[in-house]
Symmetry: T
Subunit: 68 residues, 12 copies
């Protein structure tokens, strides 16, 4: 991976699973960021309502190449 990369931190959410929450974060970031190459999970949390898991929340760092 020659070149320079920038890393942003994003939280994605999903009612289904951690993997879907990650996909959601990446898909959303793709609206404004190009050349994304990798992600790394920072932490996994979630919201509970009425004694049930209502939402999975995954914080990810996403790395993308800086265009010159």
């Amino acid at each position: 991976m020659p070149g320079i990369y920038k890393i942003i931190e994003v939280v994605g959410t999903s009612p289904v699973s951690f993997a879907e929450a990650v996909k959601s974060a990446v898909a959303e970031a793709s609206d404004t960021v190009r050349h994304m190459e990798w992600f790394e999970v920072v932490n996994e949390r979630g919201r509970i309502v009425d004694g049930r898991v209502e939402e999975f929340q995954v914080t990810v760092k996403i790395g993308f190449k800086i265009e010159r």
Copy 2:
């Protein structure tokens, strides 16, 4: 989130996935704890039998509001 919260640590298990293990932990905790609001994953482990993953184990911290 005004008020005071208590945090407990629970391990949930599932033969299917980490998300199901979390749901299992929360569902079980709901039998005795009320007003749960969030969880945070502490670690993810599992058991292997005969060269295959038999069980996913997720340790979660669960936060709930203290009733007065």
Copy 3:
């Protein structure tokens, strides 16, 4: 768990989920390692292509009993 155990570190990949990536790592390790008993997730990363998650990568430590 009486006895002595060795721990190896392996990275499994999957296009679907973190759980599948773990299963993949364990299944592959089973070709050369016997008596595996547990795994622990070290970190969760992934590759992004064209603004979408292409691959989930999970680094796991796997513990197995040393045969005498």
Copy 4:
């Protein structure tokens, strides 16, 4: 500190400062727990509303002696 101690994890909140949030957590815990001797800050967070800090949230571990 001879004897056996138990540690619980509690989140206190305050609109004013981190120290007040800790005091709030300890005061509340004192309703149901006796013989508390020390606390340790686990993390400091807060809520933002309309571009201003509305609430300081401090997670503390509190140690107390177990009565026989």
Copy 5:
């Protein structure tokens, strides 16, 4: 907290206390960032001049909702 969130890292300063340094960081960020919802303290440092604390410096992560 349904939706997607972005996290930025900011350092606020104050001659008075850690809480004021956090407030300062959030107030300043509000000039350019909207929909901020929470902060988390990353570390607390400070500057010493002539044997006295001259400035408290708090690094915070701030989460805000991404507007579509």
Copy 6:
């Protein structure tokens, strides 16, 4: 380890060694908690009096199965 587990945090003390401090914590916890299965050391500290170690203090997390 199929099922759901709860984790508590306890500090045991001993004038002799870290191992004895752990045994002390577990023995005491057994008065009120059943089905304990494992412990994990969180930290090891101690008290010094007159230039000598007077007490070893070990904080352990203890996991036990929740009975239905």
Copy 7:
């Protein structure tokens, strides 16, 4: 900051707040150490008496320039 620096670790206490505990540590250290330039908080703890916070304790690392 050209030159060589030494770092010492000190615990300051205060009945009022974490910021006051830091100031107390720095003020005390200034009796014997010169050219102190920065501090970094290592952990925040405290003592509880009769169900109330009696003392805030902050462990700080303090950096100072070595005079030649």
Copy 8:
């Protein structure tokens, strides 16, 4: 350092050394960011090709003053 600072995370690369990778990251960031004052190394990695280190990769956090 009175004022407010923002921190960004960048990965620099170099075929020669970690120090050159850092310089590369900072030089590139200077194209779009002004008033940078410090960096902190987050992690050091690299790529291996044909049994030799081909590239050093250093992730750094860079702090810069926010202009009003």
Copy 9:
């Protein structure tokens, strides 16, 4: 310590103490690994049976020189 070293991770067990668990791990590893020079404790856990500590488990990293 000039030269190149490899590090392996091993879990030793003992019914008596953490030190004995370490000795057990090192003794067992000596059957297949030569030139071991140091160990470092990674974590200390154990198994509880009938409310008593039945086994101390210590995970150690062991470093040994690679023979050419």
Copy 10:
């Protein structure tokens, strides 16, 4: 613990156990430091010779009250 405390870091060694290595470090420190009150284990390592543990090494932080 009202007052100001200083923390030093020391490595003690013993051919027998981790507890003895800690005692050794504290005893030695008592030659030059007074008013020591507590220690905390930072890490546990050791030396291996001829396939056997020859020495336990424990790094401890020791806190002592500063005399005015």
Copy 11:
């Protein structure tokens, strides 16, 4: 990086720099391991003799693809 990877931990040394110590570790590992793709620095230490740095020691994790 589709496929399965194994991670080993190695310590390289050099009298010159951290980068050279990494290169040394990788070059040595290449004698017995094929398909190495990346490394990550775990820690950086060194030996001092007569008041001078005699040796830089870098512990690296090295990832390589498992051949079927």
Copy 12:
């Protein structure tokens, strides 16, 4: 390494590289400390001026044998 060791924390600086900053810290410490045996890097930071790295700063822990 039989005996008792003390550990100090020092920051060295260099305009050239991290390795030179370490050498600088050790050389300076040798003016007042004898019997230094090892160092360990705690963190690596630096100062940026006019968009360029002006100074590498390395915090190291240095261990030395206590003379009786």
